[in-house]
């Protein structure tokens, strides 16, 4: 898999504050990577450096092989900022048209219609931004990021203002984009969302990468739960391979077995393990 986004030794200092301390991260082509971390961990700074909004103090970032901030890098990316706004007097269609012109997209009205349909705003094409709810504006922001069919998508909290239906719309959209080979770096506080859609997860803490891998790689075994006529019993330390033996032993002991469940830590457990110590300081 070739690299769509490469972050190498990235550091950023704001005066005496070190926002990033030598972060390495890669997002492969067609890969969806979730970026997690508490407030102030450096997630938004990393994304802002990648899109050329902030200059790094050290290290480098490449987007589709081009230096971050260069014209070639900007042409390859789509970006949704955590805090963004479109001019209130523009309609949804006009916002997309403006970004088509800035991105040099030849998609025309067909592209705009398709993008608005993708984010469930097809009926709001002529509605002005200042007449839209926050959730609608956020979905319009996602559509704006997709103008010009970018190869790399960087989304900073794209679902923070969305209701469950809106989140599902964006989740399905991300899965569709992955199918088309678009690479996505998703910065979000919503662990369940990251767990559902991301191929890999990276956890930042205090400007350092403290954990990275697939959700399966990051999760740890937490025993096996056996449901019998005596109730539910948790066998700590047992793993998946122990399940048949445990069932056989229970049956041999005259128990009726109603269910067996292999327990692993959730992404939330992994996240809290990684950042918990810092958060309780």
């Amino acid at each position: 898999m070739s690299t769509a986004l490469a972050v190498r030794g990235l550091a950023k200092r704001y005066g005496s504050v070190e926002a990033l301390k030598g972060v390495d991260l890669e997002v492969g082509e067609g890969e969806l990577v979730g970026l997690l971390g508490p407030n102030g961990a450096g997630k938004s700074t990393l994304v802002k450096i990648a899109v050329g909004l902030v200059r790094p103090s050290d290290g480098e970032v490449e987007i589709a092989g081009a230096r971050a901030g260069s014209k070639a890098a900007r042409a390859a990316l789509g970006y949704l900022a955590e805090l963004f706004r479109f001019p209130g007097w523009y309609t949804a269609d006009e916002v997309l048209e403006l970004h088509q012109r800035l991105a040099g997209s030849n998609g025309g009205a067909a592209e705009r219609r398709r993008l608005l349909e993708l984010v469930a705003l097809a009926d709001a094409a002529g509605r002005r931004v200042d007449g839209m709810s926050k959730g609608m504006q956020q979905r319009l922001g996602v559509a704006q990021a997709l103008v010009g069919e970018p190869r790399v998508l960087l989304l900073d909290e794209p679902t923070s203002a969305l209701d469950p239906v809106g989140r599902r719309t964006v989740r399905l959209l991300l899965e569709e984009l992955r199918g088309r080979g678009v690479s996505v770096l998703l910065n979000s506080h919503l662990l369940s969302e990251i767990e559902l859609v991301c191929d890999r997860v990276a956890i930042l803490l205090g400007g350092e990468l403290v954990a990275a891998g697939t959700p399966a790689e990051l999760s740890r075994p937490r025993g096996v739960e056996l449901e019998t006529d005596e109730g539910v019993r948790r066998i700590a330390g047992a793993v998946r391979e122990d399940a048949p033996r445990l069932v056989a032993e229970a049956v041999a002991a005259g128990r009726r077995v109603y269910g067996v469940r292999v327990l692993t830590s959730t992404l939330e457990d992994v996240y809290l393990e990684a950042v918990g110590e810092e958060m309780t300081d």
């Binding site: 909004l53 900007r74 900022a81 970004h99 991105a103």
Partner: protein, 285 residues
């Protein structure tokens, strides 16, 4: 070119939608009505003004030059108000509100973005200044049957002065918050006006120190020098006591003038633009 046009159009639409534009248009309409009334009454009573026999003053020229000078000041002031309020938050203000980031990450690039915003604001302000200037000249010309010695260049210089203020305001918007930038640019503008008045006083009193200070201010703030030069050209061919009295000011004299200051104003504009582009390229958003 499409992206440049897109940003210029974006800035233009933003400009005409803002309340400050409507306020300036309303104030301009009120000013032009009052200016017409002033012309009507001044020129209507001109025949009643009889200077002493040994004072050879052309009252019509004096009244026309004074009134159009007043109109020039009002046009410059309103043009600067419009320019500052359209540009004071182009970078810091728009970045704080989240309007700038989606545009900056596009391939259009920061330099093109800033230049396009400059062109958009300059287009609106130059058109505004020229329209008000021509309207004021036509009012005086038709009411008082007096026209300035030079008609085109003063308008161009007045518009040039406002364009320099736009460049300064854009530069300020990169390094200052919107409020701080607005205050800073208006203070510069006020400083320029005071320097112009000082020049008149300095020459009337023949004070070398005041003349020297006002000359430095005129070169440091060339929008003021262009305004003064524009005023000078209105009565450039007026001679005798009338010309002398007009040169005393406040709506006539210019002690730093001509092609040198015009060339300096152009170079100053380029230099401010270059510094602004450099600062914007390095600005974290």
């Amino acid at each position: 070119m499409s992206s440049v046009a897109a940003i210029v159009e974006y800035g233009f639409r933003e400009a005409v939608r803002r309340k400050v534009f409507a306020v300036v248009v309303l104030l301009t309409a009120i000013f032009l009505v009052l200016f017409w009334l002033a012309n009507h009454f001044v020129f209507g009573q001109l025949s009643n003004i009889t200077p002493p026999r040994d004072v050879n003053v052309d009252t019509r020229t004096f009244a026309g030059a004074f009134l159009t000078g007043l109109a020039m000041f009002a046009t410059l002031f309103l043009g600067v108000v419009l320019a500052v309020f359209l540009t004071l938050g182009v970078v810091s203000g728009d970045a704080e509100r989240g309007l700038l980031q989606p545009l900056v990450v596009r391939p259009v690039g920061r330099s093109t973005l800033l230049l396009s915003r400059f062109l958009g604001a300059a287009g609106v302000c130059v058109a505004y200044v020229l329209v008000v200037y021509v309207a004021a000249m036509v009012i005086t010309g038709l009411t008082g049957h007096w026209w300035p010695d030079t008609l085109v260049w003063p308008g161009v210089e007045l518009a040039g002065g406002v364009v320099i203020v736009i460049a300064l305001s854009l530069l300020g918007s990169i390094v200052l918050s919107s409020t701080a930038n607005g205050i800073a640019v208006f203070m510069l503008f006020g400083g320029g006006l005071v320097a112009g008045l000082l020049a008149s006083i300095g020459h009337a009193l023949n004070s070398h120190a005041i003349k020297h200070a006002s000359t430095i201010a005129a070169w440091a703030l060339p929008f003021e020098a262009l305004y003064q030069d524009a005023l000078r050209m209105m009565t450039a061919h007026t001679s005798g006591l009338t010309g002398f009295l007009l040169q005393l000011g406040p709506f006539g004299g210019a002690y730093v003038h001509g092609w040198t200051i015009r060339a300096w104003a152009a170079a100053y504009l380029v230099a401010v633009g270059a510094v602004a582009l450099l600062a914007f390229a390095r600005r974290n958003l």
